[in-house]
Symmetry: C2
Subunit: 77 residues, 2 copies
């Protein structure tokens, strides 16, 4: 998967799951343990996260990393 596309797709997925979980960006960022502006940048696909940060996002969404990426891979392009 192309570089920038991956960050973009992950951001969109995270945003969708966060909204489905009924969390504001602020509440979600607090749960992940990062700043709200950073969480926003990740959702917009502007930030490339490390696997550790991706793991924190997954945990805050009650997912394993593998599950989060499986959801991402199953999305149509």
């Amino acid at each position: 998967m192309e570089e920038t596309r991956l960050a973009k797709k992950l951001g969109l997925l995270i945003r969708r799951l966060r909204v489905e979980a009924g969390l504001s960006q602020e509440e979600f960022a607090y749960k992940v343990g990062i700043h709200r502006t950073y969480a926003g940048a990740v959702e917009r696909g502007e930030k490339t996260v490390t696997i550790e940060t991706a793991s924190k996002f997954a945990s805050a969404l009650d997912l394993k990393l593998s599950q989060m990426f499986a959801m991402l891979e199953s999305q149509s392009d």
Copy 2:
């Protein structure tokens, strides 16, 4: 999963899969598209990779990111 533990576990997994694939560190780094010394640091868990870099490693091992993380999660601690 704890931060440093994740990089460590991923490094060990990547090294195991690379060796199983019969690739030297140099051949593998070339396939991933990164420098050999960087590949070595990742295998030793000294470098925290981005999801994009993790995706390149997975591709070079003919795995999806979700599959690589599923293998990582299924390992005993």
